[in-house]
């Protein structure tokens, strides 16, 4: 919609190329900076753009907010704040709402292939895509230095094709980075030394997503093969396997069996993809709630007592744990691939939800009610 204004401008060769690139851009990954004020986004051309969260000037009252305060799970410590999203909508929309503020402050070319996944440590931004993981210093990025700190490649078996890395997961307690992707293995990298310590094999197809159970050091992984596997980090063994497509409640054979997204909270796990989005009780390995969403979901996350999910289609879906669709908030992209919730305690004022997908735009939701505006490559 925002492009429509440029229709009258005659385009030269370069402009046409740029327009085409933007037209076919997909943003695969997002990561919030440790200070909580910046958002990194990676696209299919291997570029990473750093956006500044539009700085809220006055906290917005969330009285109309849709964040429930009670629910299945006890609220975490940082959700005690009375204003979970004190982001200033008015500031973002009025004085700060210029086009420049919605453009990335820095864009740099990080990878040759798409940037499928990014995570932030307290100092670094780690990005991965085409088989390599690269580390960038946030401090330098913000100074627009943009030089990679290091790069590591997991030990792959030789192949015609370099396998991609679809998911990165930080295990802060162990200071580990877990990588998973095209070679169907989970690689654990010691962030201290940069050495790959072990690999977990079990998936028969490439891995889409990872999730960490914080209480017991266990990692969940979901893959193209349709299985969610639970790994114990201490023993480096597979603990449990949930083959989602085998459960009739959630199986959707025409969409395939792949698990595209995964999230966990204590004994609960939600996963979706080819099969329907389903809430699982891990200990009993039974699906408790199947959420009635036809389109395959590509990202899911717990938020307080809600489940947020996104996938094919323009909307961010908000689910009650009971399976009720609480709300569908439309975004600007035809399909969403990632959601990012800025929960950094360092910047409580920038507590917003961002969603990105099959477009060059990152939609910003200052509360769950509607899309405030979009950041754009």
């Amino acid at each position: 919609m925002e492009r429509a204004a440029q229709q009258a401008v005659p385009l030269g060769q370069m402009e046409v190329f740029q327009a085409l690139q933007r037209l076919h851009m997909t943003i695969f990954s997002q990561s919030v900076s440790p200070c909580g004020k910046f958002l990194a986004a990676g696209n299919n051309y291997g570029q990473i753009a750093i956006f500044r969260y539009p700085c809220p000037c006055s906290p917005l009252s969330m009285s109309s907010g849709t964040w429930p305060s009670g629910g299945l799970m006890p609220p975490s410590s940082d959700t005690q704040a009375p204003l979970p999203f004190p982001f200033s909508l008015s500031a973002a929309l009025s004085s700060e709402a210029k086009e420049e503020s919605k453009k990335p402050m820095v864009t740099f070319h990080a990878h040759d292939g798409p940037v499928y996944s990014m995570v932030s440590t307290d100092r670094h931004l780690l990005s991965a895509g085409d088989g390599e993981v690269k580390a960038w210093l946030w401090a330098e990025i913000l100074k627009k230095g943009c030089k990679e700190l290091w790069r590591r490649q997991p030990p792959y078996r030789t192949s015609l094709e370099v396998p991609e890395i679809n998911a990165l997961l930080l295990v802060p307690k162990e200071n580990l980075l877990i990588l998973a992707g095209g070679d169907c293995q989970l690689h654990a990298m010691d962030l201290e030394t940069g050495t790959f310590m072990w690999a977990l094999r079990g998936h028969t197809d490439y891995i889409h997503c990872l999730a960490l159970r914080e209480r017991s050091p266990e990692v969940l992984s979901g893959g193209e093969d349709g299985a969610v596997r639970l790994w114990d980090l201490r023993t480096a063994k597979e603990v449990q396997t949930v083959e989602v497509y085998k459960h009739e409640e959630c199986s959707r054979p025409h969409n395939g069996r792949w698990i595209g997204c995964l999230a966990t909270d204590s004994d609960w796990m939600v996963c979706g993809g080819g099969p329907a989005l389903t809430l699982w009780h891990l200990r009993s390995s039974t699906p408790t709630t199947v959420f009635p969403m036809r389109a395959p979901q590509k990202h899911v996350t717990f938020y307080q007592d809600l489940i947020l999910s996104a996938g094919q289609g323009r909307c961010v879906n908000q689910w009650q744990l009971s399976g009720e669709l609480k709300a569908q908030v439309p975004g600007s992209s035809p399909g969403l691939l990632s959601l990012s919730l800025n929960q950094q305690p360092a910047a409580p004022e920038c507590k917003v939800l961002t969603a990105a997908g099959n477009s060059c735009r990152v939609d910003v939701f200052t509360n769950l009610g509607y899309r405030a505006f979009s950041l754009s490559f």
Partner: protein, 1064 residues
């Protein structure tokens, strides 16, 4: 003579001065001077009483019998005395009684005889009695006699007043018509006979006076002293009027003595003259008085009709002349010379006369009256007469002042006090009442006495009635007077007012004249004169005249004007000289021009002669020269273009100088059009502009006037505005394959822009595919040579205003006729216009043109070639064949199952309406200058629609594909990531599809790839395990992995030598 001597003795100084009338002089003489001197009473009386009568009857009047005056006089005086005694001493206020008192005093020894006295008395009494009898005899009221005024008023009562209209003036003025009649005689005596005359008259006339039979008395005899000499004057009184006169005349006729006298007298006379006179009512009756006196007779001839007025004035004036009893009598003529008034005055001597008269002038009122009488008198001869004592013809006449004024009530009104009149009125009324009462009383008593008493009372009543009548008249007169005065005053005021108005008007007129004078402006003030200093410095002294003009600004201005005139004359002279000089020079120029024009034919012939030599030497200088000559008439932008294009063409030719340059010129330049027209256009550029503006104005007018022709006129106007320059530049651009791009550049004079028309000719005949209709059309072939340069808008921002004026919305509608005003065309012509977006300004002209020439020419060539390529490709695409050249085979696998089944052109609007093209439209990539096509690729049941946007900048700008797959539902980039990936593969990764330069195979390669992608998509589609039966599209392609990444993208990338597909 002895009497004369006596008199001189007695008078001392005036020997010839007669004393007075006979009456007074004896008294006076006896009284004053020693009467002894005048001893004989005869002589004494004779002196003053010598009377001469002349009767009217006949020229030879008989001598009248003389009578002694003395007697008569004495007797009369005695009568008066008696009266006086009766009335008492208080009566002295009255003239009459004064005179009588004098007479009584001085007449103690009078020897008058009683007979005379008696005869006179009744006459006198009869007068008195007739009017005053009752008053005098019975009742003497003090009031009547207390003052002079009263007396005169009282006397006026006796004047009979009648209505002035019915009576003659004489009756108004005289005391009583029946009273005294006077006759005055003037006898001019021979000078030698004067004494004899005197003695003769003295002898005769007093007898008549004394004779009782004759009812006449001689008032006085005089000889003239000053005035007409040798004249004797006699004044007779006839008591009883005309009957008395006639009686007297009759008696005298028979009087022998008198006849004798006349006979004797006639021998002494030269001439005679007489008049009958009446007495003025207000004047004293002549009385005898003491002598010696001199008398003055003043005679006035009045204008006819002024007698009344005269009388009125003198009635007032006479009171001022009473002090010395100088007034003797006033008379006016009744028969004889008419309108004559005689006043008789008596003075002691000339000195006293002088004093008395002066005293009169000092009194207020005298002068006024005298003044008023001036108008009525004709002349006023002054005669001083003295008594003609010697009978010898020496006529002495005492002059009497004749300030004649007769009585009138109008005059009297002024003298009376209205208050007193009122009291009198009251008194009279009382008296009347009393009388009436008495009469009634008497009548009631009856008796004999009563009749007499009643008669008496009646007379008294009559008197009172008279008084009332008088008062009534006075009141009327007062009223009338008041009115007259008011009227007079009003007249005066009016006159003054008129005068004032006249004066004011005059003042105004004068003021106007003054302003006119002040406002007068002379012509010279408008002339800008040389300054004063300059004038004195430059002007010759005979004009400036400094000594005169320095002080006098008027003279100075005149002098300056003179100088100005002088200078102007001089300048005019100079101007004439210059004109003649100019004529001369013009003639010289003419001569030289003729010489120069005679050179031209000669030069031409030389040129002609040189042509064969040029050809022989293969040096077409002349041809080039001609072209350059023509180029001179090009408008500046076309000229720039021409020069630059020629230069560029030559440069290109030299670059590839291997072959003969002229034969295979890549770029050839020519000029088309009529040079003459251009010349005509060029010569009067101002005129044409003027016409332009004029027609503008006219048009505006006519649009207002005539509606119907508006459209026509606007059309004309538009044509005029869009007019091309008659010359155009033709550019032929040859490509390698011998196709030629013909460009014709025009210049729109009024819009100041250049346009171009393009035409492409190919070496071989082309089969024109339907979908390629627009590719080589002159309209679009050059569109967007530079990005955004559609050539449909005028690049000159000023044009928009011109268009508004004539109702052109955009130039777009006229582009087909005029050619396209591409920006690059302007730049080639060196025209630079500011863009809508700010940018650095480029210096125009040759440098601009030159900087654009090469790139533009290259672009033009590329454009033509790519268009030609497309043209060819479309021909096969329409037949479902995607032509892939051999050098592009490596891009595709050998086996491609999907087939292109349709290739059609679609309209822009249709494209916009497609549901799957929204993103492109929103991205601003679907402008209306682009060409739009729809391709359909099929494989089995799967149909892939591809909407193609072909940018005019193809092939430098790639075509854009939007896909829609109809297979197991409709799939677009919105709901299928792989479709999106396929679009990306075609659109974004187009560089690898360009093939060898110049990349004309891009479109076909993209189509071919689309077919491949469809194969991959279909073959790698994960088949549903639940669906029975074989897969529709078995996987034939070699793939490393089927899906990759979070989006689960299929392996669309073809790896050439190995022949497998992988992910990008």
């Amino acid at each position: 003579m002895p009497r004369l001597a006596e008199r001189s003795e007695g008078d001392g100084t005036f020997p010839l001065c007669p004393t007075l009338f006979g009456i007074t002089s004896p008294i006076g003489s006896s009284d004053l001077t020693g009467g002894a001197g005048l001893g004989s009473p005869l002589s004494g009386y004779g002196d003053s009483h010598s009377e001469r009568f002349c009767f009217l009857r006949g020229a030879a009047g008989p001598l009248l019998p003389q009578r002694s005056v003395t007697w008569g006089t004495v007797g009369w005086e005695r009568t008066s005395l008696e009266v006086r005694h009766k009335t008492g001493a208080e009566q002295k206020g009255m003239e009459l009684h004064e005179a009588q008192a004098e007479m009584v005093e001085g007449d103690g020894k009078g020897k008058g005889d009683d007979g005379e006295k008696v005869s006179l008395q009744p006459r006198a009494l009869s007068i008195c009695l007739k009017l005053l009898g009752g008053l005098f005899l019975s009742d003497y009221d003090k009031r009547f006699y207390s003052k002079d005024n009263e007396g005169s008023w009282f006397r006026s009562l006796f004047v009979h007043k009648v209505d002035p209209r019915k009576d003659a003036h004489s009756t108004l003025l005289s005391k009583k018509e029946t009273s005294n009649l006077y006759k005055i005689q003037f006898h001019n005596v021979k000078p030698e006979c004067l004494d004899a005359y005197n003695s003769l008259t003295e002898a005769v006339l007093p007898k008549l006076h004394l004779d009782e039979d004759y009812p006449c008395s001689l008032v006085g005899n005089w000889n003239t002293w000053y005035g007409e000499q040798d004249q004797a004057v006699h004044l007779w009184r006839f008591s009883g009027g005309y009957p008395a006169l006639m009686d007297c005349m009759n008696k005298l006729k028979s009087n022998k003595e008198y006849l004798e006298f006349r006979k004797e007298r006639s021998q002494m006379l030269l001439s005679r003259r007489n008049q009958l006179l009446l007495e003025f009512s207000f004047w004293n009756e002549p009385q005898p008085r003491a002598g010696p006196n001199i008398y003055e007779l003043r005679t006035y001839k009045l204008k006819p009709g002024t007698m009344i007025e005269w009388g009125n004035n003198w009635a007032r004036a006479i009171k001022y002349r009473q002090e010395n009893q100088e007034a003797v009598g006033g008379f006016f003529s009744q028969i004889g010379e008419l309108y004559v008034v005689h006043h008789l005055w008596a003075y002691k001597d000339l000195q006293s006369r002088e004093e008395t008269r002066n005293a009169a002038w000092r009194k207020r009122g005298w002068d006024e009256n005298v003044y008023y009488t001036e108008s009525s008198k004709k002349r006023k001869p002054k005669v001083i007469r003295s008594d003609g004592a010697p009978a010898e013809g020496k006529r002495t006449r005492s002059d009497t002042e004749q300030e004649g004024k007769y009585y009138s009530e109008e005059a009297e009104v002024d003298l009376r006090d209205p208050g007193r009149d009122y009291e009198l009125y009251k008194y009279t009324c009382q008296e009347l009442q009393r009388l009436m009462a008495e009469i009634q009383d008497l009548k009631s008593r009856g008796g004999k006495d009563a009749a007499v008493e009643i008669e008496d009372r009646r007379i008294q009543s009559c008197v009172h009635f008279m008084t009332l009548k008088k008062l009534n008249r006075l009141a009327h007169i007062r009223l009338k007077k008041g009115r007259d005065q008011t009227h007079e005053a009003k007249q005066k005021v009016d006159a003054y007012h008129l005068q004032l108005q006249n004066l004011l008007y005059e003042v105004m007129h004068l003021q106007k004249e003054i302003t006119k004078c002040l406002e007068f402006k002379s012509k010279h003030e408008e002339i800008d004169l040389v300054s004063l200093e300059e004038f004195y410095k430059e002007a010759p002294p005979d004009i400036s005249k400094a000594e005169v003009t320095m002080g006098d600004p008027h003279q100075q201005t005149l002098a300056r004007l003179d100088w100005e005139l002088e200078q102007r004359k001089r300048l005019a002279e100079k101007y004439r000289e210059c004109l003649s000089n100019k004529e001369k020079i013009l003639k010289e120029i003419e001569v030289k021009k003729e010489y120069l024009s005679s050179l031209q034919p000669r030069l031409n012939s030389i040129m002609q002669a040189s042509l064969p030599v040029q050809e022989y030497l293969f040096m077409p200088f002349d041809q080039a020269h001609k072209q350059y000559e023509t180029a001179r008439h090009l408008p500046p932008p076309l000229y720039v273009l021409f020069v630059q294009a020629t230069a560029y063409g030559q440069a290109c030719a030299h670059r590839k100088s291997s072959q003969p340059p002229r034969q295979d010129k890549m770029l050839s330049v020519a000029i088309e059009g009529s040079v003459d027209e251009a010349k005509a256009l060029f010569k009067p550029p101002e005129d044409s502009q003027d016409d332009e503006s004029d027609s503008d104005a006219e048009e505006e007018q006519t649009t207002k006037r005539r509606r119907p022709t508006l459209g026509v006129q606007l059309d004309d106007k538009r044509k005029e505005m869009l007019k091309r320059h008659p010359l155009s530049v033709l550019l032929d651009l040859k490509c390698k394959d011998d196709s030629v791009l013909h460009l014709t550049f025009y210049y729109l004079m009024n819009l100041n822009i250049m346009t171009v028309k393009a035409k492409v000719t190919t070496a071989t005949e082309l089969i024109t595919p339907i979908s390629a209709g627009d590719l080589l059309s002159p309209d679009s072939v050059l569109s967007c040579l530079y990005p955004g340069d559609h050539g449909k808008k005028t690049p000159n921002p000023a044009n928009q205003y011109q268009f508004d004026k004539v109702g052109i919305l955009t130039l777009r509608d006229y582009v087909l006729d005029l050619g396209h005003p591409y920006l690059w065309v302007q730049k080639l012509g060196g025209l630079h216009f500011p863009k809508e977006q700010p940018q650095h300004t480029v210096i125009t002209d040759h440098s601009l043109s030159a900087s654009h020439m090469e790139t533009t020419m290259k672009l033009l060539k590329t454009r033509v070639q790519s268009r030609l390529a497309l043209h060819k490709q479309f021909a096969s695409l329409e037949h479902g064949i995607v032509p892939v050249t051999s050098d592009c085979h490596y891009l595709f696998p050998a086996k491609v199952v999907s087939r292109l089944v349709k290739w059609v052109t679609i309209a822009h609007e249709d494209y916009m309406e497609l549901h799957f093209t929204k993103d492109v439209v929103e991205a601003g990539l679907a402008g209306d200058t682009n060409l739009y096509y729809m391709a359909l690729v099929e494989r089995g049941t799967a149909k892939l629609q591809a909407a193609v946007v072909l940018n005019p900048g193809y092939s430098s700008i790639p075509p854009i594909f939007q896909l829609c797959l109809n297979w197991k539902g409709e799939k677009t980039n919105n709901n299928d990531d792989n479709i999106r990936a396929m679009e990306s593969e075609v659109n974004v990764c187009c560089k690898e599809l360009c093939g060898p330069r110049p990349g004309h195979q891009l479109l076909t390669n993209q189509l071919q790839r689309l077919c491949v992608l469809l194969d991959v998509y279909l073959e790698t589609e994960s088949h549903d395990d639940s669906v029975e039966g074989p897969k529709e599209f078995p996987q034939e392609k070699m793939c490393l992995r089927l899906f990759r990444g979070p989006s689960r993208i299929k392996p669309f990338k073809y790896n050439h030598p190995q022949g497998f597909f992988s992910h990008r």
